[in-house]
Point group: C2
């Protein structure tokens, strides 16, 4: 049986490859257009303006090293990690407030 | 509407807090026993012997900095990231092989 946590990891992989394409070499990447499509369709609740080219460019520049303008899976999952970390901080604050009541 | 990717991130948070407890300060941690319970129940398809104390100790020592023997959410999500990265590498190899056929 596959657990919810294992399904969640599989979802990261499947969503990335739904938008990524094989670039130079054998690894797969999201270019700026595909990252924009992914953010608009899959992360609409995490970004106020997920289709805004400025926001997409900011995300790409923050996550991707150098000037390559392509996001590989490792960089994509680091972006997801940062988003989950931010959400968890809020979640723990709520849990702590409830415990102290 | 919540997307599959957003649900996946929420799953990471919920599964962590199903096993973690509030330790010193205000952050939440998994101790060795709780990490073992989580690995056994939630990651049985990723580890050959998820309940083996040696494996649990190895995971804790690899992921957690210093000698604190407690895993916070950031360290937990880095563990998940490493597992997903390994799975993705295999997935990309399969994709590339299929493309070259």
């Amino acid at each position: 049986m596959v657990t919810d946590l294992e399904t969640a990891m599989q979802t990261f992989i499947e969503v990335f490859h739904k938008y990524a394409k094989r670039a130079k070499g054998s690894t797969h990447h999201l270019d700026q257009d595909n990252l924009k499509r992914l953010m608009k369709a899959e992360l609409g609740n995490y970004f106020q303006r997920p289709g805004d080219p400025k926001i997409v460019k900011d995300v790409m520049t923050t996550v991707v090293k150098g000037n390559k303008q392509e996001m590989n899976f490792w960089e994509f999952i680091l972006l997801m990690t940062s988003l989950a970390f931010t959400c968890n901080r809020k979640y723990e604050q709520k849990l702590n407030a409830a415990m102290e009541r």
